[in-house]
Symmetry: C2
Subunit: 169 residues, 2 copies
């Protein structure tokens, strides 16, 4: 794992790829002022470093009928690290768990569920929260409007903050 210095072009490319990964190397190069092969060399560096992990297709939720999004705020019983590990494994077993975060503060976990139909939503909530012995209490916030979705990460901070590390193979 070594440092991977990123210049402005790198930050731009990473932002573009996080918005749309289907653009050609030529297209990307035209936008940032580089040849296709120069873009490729940089992209390969990101991949080798483990910074760029993979590409995913994004579905438009408006075209998946009956899809329900819900944010669940979970408080767990005081438990051992081992029990926590097992609870996270149980979360990962359910494909409708779109996101799950262990957090600090007023709750212990934030879980985003994406289900087809309210019936499935209830099944999942029952399994993961009501019937789970590790869960003390939980509350569900149903999503009325997904104002913004995605998993884009910024790569640079306000000033010089934000070098990037990656494995050098």
């Amino acid at each position: 794992m070594s440092d991977l210095r990123l210049d402005d072009l790198d930050h731009d490319l990473l932002a573009l790829l996080q918005r749309d990964a289907s653009r050609t190397l030529r297209d990307l190069g035209d936008e940032v002022g580089l040849s296709p092969s120069a873009v490729l060399r940089r992209v390969q560096r990101y991949r080798c470093a483990g910074l760029l992990s993979h590409n995913v297709a994004v579905l438009d939720p408006r075209h998946v009928p009956e899809v329900i999004l819900a944010v669940c705020l979970v408080t767990i019983e005081d438990d051992t690290p081992e029990e926590g590990r097992r609870y996270r494994e149980r979360l990962l077993e359910v494909p409708e768990v779109q996101q799950a975060y262990e957090v600090s503060g007023d709750y212990d976990y934030v879980v985003v569920l994406a289900c087809v139909g309210m019936r499935r939503e209830n099944e999942v909530a029952k399994r993961l929260f009501q019937q789970d012995p590790n869960v003390k209490r939980y509350t569900t916030l149903f999503v009325l409007d997904p104002v913004r979705t995605g998993s884009a990460l910024p790569t640079r901070g306000p000033d010089g903050v934000g070098g990037v590390t990656g494995a050098t193979d």
Copy 2:
């Protein structure tokens, strides 16, 4: 906007594409038992219907140093629909707002922030929550462990629930 009937192969393909959109048509076809051109025809149907919107690159947060994820739970002052619209616009102006949901229940908005450095995190929280006249109160849950991230949607429910609609162009 018309119905787009999906069979089991379609559900499988959509799940595969949401996991990894870089696989070739041949590769996908081999996995589900279809020729590359048959896969292409189906994928084009999803795109024309608006179901498949675009592809994005996923960064590994472990290789973006100083990246901080936080889930903010926001309660707003009673406001008009117009004020709500303007608040959502202010959220969308900030690139560090990775996700934002208007929700029902104990809070009004759930906002996921992804920032490089705690300093930037504080700047953004100040701007969007502390200084905003529409916000009554908010609480921040810092992410200790991103157990699962992503934006994958299921396309089928427990039983026959979950036909898919899309625009036919």
